[in-house]
Symmetry: C2
Subunit: 462 residues, 2 copies
């Protein structure tokens, strides 16, 4: 007999009732009585456990009673209507076999563990309710993103992580090398001789696939990337990690308004997909992590996203009857306190457009006013900035000007600029940090808790 | 009017016939006659171009005639039955507007370019028929993999790329650092002081997610990874790249036979998915890249995969009436010439099982004979080894022995070994190089031509 996934049990319960099934998984909890016992059983395919009931009519009743939490077992038994409240069925065990033991001091006991403790048990924490739910939502949300883009004719592009271009500012990128750091080859003038390295020069792991994505958008019209990204930031906050995942769509023949349409449609699709595919996880987060989470997500799917320029945002902030820590400025960035105020003032998600060009990236399209760029940040209540995007500068000469203004080494982005010469067209793209989305979807507020094995300064265990 | 994707045109042609549509894309080819002209138009959403016909009744006829190959244009026109053979429809242009010019010396002209030349134009090559098809198949095959695993209740795990474990052999991994190589901090004994680096020790980018995948399989039963992987190999062959993508599923309660079932089912699903979603691309490869490709792929979907032990393979090789460059040995690896012979001898895909333990990895399960491990390589006609997997050693003490035998630094894999102590169970997994699959799917025989921006020794442009 082939083992059933617990997920299949829940999905096919009507046809399985009174049938014999085989299950393989782990003991979450074990309550023993004199003549019978209850095993909280999981195989990890479903958020919900299954109750396995056994009694002293089984030959190895005493052996089964010794089974400890965390052990791997195989259960053969009958699916029966459950007398217990709120539980549709249980398994009446005919046979319970130990497949893998677990010791008395198994770290994940059926009690409340702090997230800090579980972070130190990163390889075991997906076995808990909380992290089991978080990392399943991570998987389902990733699939939602692929489904959205693929069903809209986007091509998924694996942009390279290793790069020799330093257009982002190489001080923010990890250097990679095959050289022996204790015996570095030197040139005549005493500098490290990078020509001896595998790529013949200093290479980095990159923080964005956008530039390469643009090249592919000029071939396929609509593309997206979805892959890991690296930042060297030496910053220990709830929202910073040195390795995380990004989604970067890029769309030809798309202006800023078109881009906002796509951002809004995609986000609603993903949120709705997770609501539909992970109702048990969402209910759990709603109850134990963020009260009102489900309502927050359902509201977003229905919401009309507001579009408002940076200039008008500053107007609103200046008129507000508030003491600001950072004074709102038409030339400046928008602080967290401002973001919060605006999403509350607007009472919903806000596309904040047309930013002062000097605080935004060099490849963004300069508006006709010569002062602002066609950039857009999406601010979502309870999440802050979820996406950042822009229309790209498609004019070769204007791009060159910006490159000079920003002291970019043009030689490393020559090919990128040439895209403007060879059938370049107006186009736009955005980036979404996947972990930021997950924090929003789960209510879990620390990036370390939505990444399977997080990497932060001085923290690269496992 | 919103622009249609060319793909939508082909899909909805019946309802669009005689309708007016707007298209945005690029000129692939332009043939001019005195009173009319034909534009081969693409927007990259479909392999097939669309013929746009215009004539001198248009006001700007002379302007349109000047449009060059590679230019971005917008076309408004009527979808008409085409008089041309083998072409269902064409667009009778009412308006053609230049959106982005392309110069006379645009590198991608409508003629045959060598793959070597196009490799040097990596940022433009997806605009050609060949690479346009290759990278679309790459995207569709990636989606197929996600669909297979997600629909079978697997959890997609983003295993970390940055690692401090050197269990694979750190000489095969890129070192990463934030330190200034020209001013490295030193310890008292003159060595580089890695404690000053961002993670407080030497970190690497990894070549596998398997170890972390196993931890998650012990929570979710079935998981897969799909992400970039790095190797420092200084090797210039058709099958080596320093950055590539891998799929690594890991399944609890799964033995070697179960693993082979999954490998076979998954591969057939993916091949079939690509055959169904990319018929035009496959027909193109079949005609211009690898004659018989379509039949090869269709056959695979129908094939019964043979399972045969390494020992029996050596028997067959020894009995073969052939002069071998490498003498087949019961203790040894199987050379390319052997692989080829066996798939031809068996006349189909072959699972080659139970390999001598000394030539396989330390984490593989030692069979009862004490000499072989429960490993399996899948050899596919015309592709060679497509996947490599094994049942994992689930016995803590036996694993410790293997760790000692193989001089692995146990302290870096303590947590991994502990998985055997905490409800460990029999489990198996495999790895599939995504590019190897793509080479098989497209017939394109050089890994540099199935990676958007390939990285190989001394080659990290773009």
């Amino acid at each position: 007999m082939e083992a059933k996934d617990v997920k299949e049990l829940y999905e096919e319960i009507e046809s399985l009732m009174n049938q014999e099934v085989k299950l393989q998984g782990w003991i979450r909890n074990h309550r023993k009585q004199k003549e019978f016992g209850f095993i909280d059983f999981t195989d990890g395919t479903d958020f919900q456990t299954v109750q396995v009931v056994y009694d002293d009519k089984l030959d190895d009743f005493l052996e089964i009673q010794k089974l400890r939490v965390g052990s791997a077992i195989e259960v053969i038994g009958k699916v029966m209507k459950s007398p217990a409240k709120g539980q549709v069925f249980e398994i009446q065990a005919e046979k319970v076999v130990l497949l893998g033991d677990s010791p008395e001091d198994y770290p994940i006991q059926p009690k409340r563990h702090t997230r800090e403790f579980l972070r130190e048990q990163a390889y075991l924490r997906p076995r808990t309710n909380l992290f089991g739910a978080v990392f399943r939502v991570r998987s389902v949300a990733a699939m939602a993103i692929h489904e959205y883009f693929q069903s809209h004719n986007y091509v998924y592009v694996h942009t390279p992580l290793i790069t020799t271009a330093d257009c982002e500012g190489s001080d923010q990128m990890f250097k990679i090398t095959t050289l022996d750091l204790n015996h570095l080859p030197k040139t005549e003038d005493g500098q490290v001789d990078m020509s001896k390295d595998l790529f013949g020069k200093q290479a980095y792991v990159t923080g964005t696939g956008q530039l390469h994505g643009e090249a592919f958008a000029m071939a396929y019209k609509k593309i997206y990337t979805f892959g890991p990204t690296f930042r060297t930031e030496n910053s220990n906050t709830k929202t910073h990690a040195n390795e995380f995942w990004m989604i970067e769509p890029e769309i030809a023949f798309c202006d800023l308004d078109g881009l906002m349409n796509i951002e809004e449609e995609m986000l609603k699709f993903v949120v709705n997909y997770v609501l539909e595919k992970c109702p048990k996880e969402i209910a759990f987060f709603d109850q134990f992590v963020e009260k009102g989470l489900k309502e927050k997500l359902s509201k977003l799917v229905q919401a009309k996203f507001t579009r408002i320029s940076h200039h008008d945002v500053i107007d609103i902030l200046k008129k507000a009857d508030k003491e600001w820590e950072f004074t709102p400025s038409y030339d400046g960035d928008i602080a967290k306190e401002h973001e919060k105020y605006i999403t509350e003032y607007i009472h919903g998600p806000v596309f904040n457009t047309d930013w002062p060009k000097d605080i935004k990236a060099w490849y963004m399209k300069v508006n006709e006013d010569g002062k602002t760029v066609a950039a857009v940040d999406l601010e979502v209540p309870g999440a802050g900035e979820l996406m950042g995007g822009s229309q790209r500068e498609e004019d070769y000469d204007k791009l060159m000007e910006r490159i000079k203004e920003n002291n970019i080494d043009q030689s490393t982005v020559d090919w990128f600029c040439n895209l403007r010469r060879y059938g370049g067209c107006y186009h736009s793209g955005f980036g979404m940090g996947f972990e930021r989305l997950l924090i929003y979807l789960t209510g879990v507020d620390n990036i370390r808790d939505v990444i399977p094995f997080p990497r932060t300064p001085n923290n690269c265990e496992y």
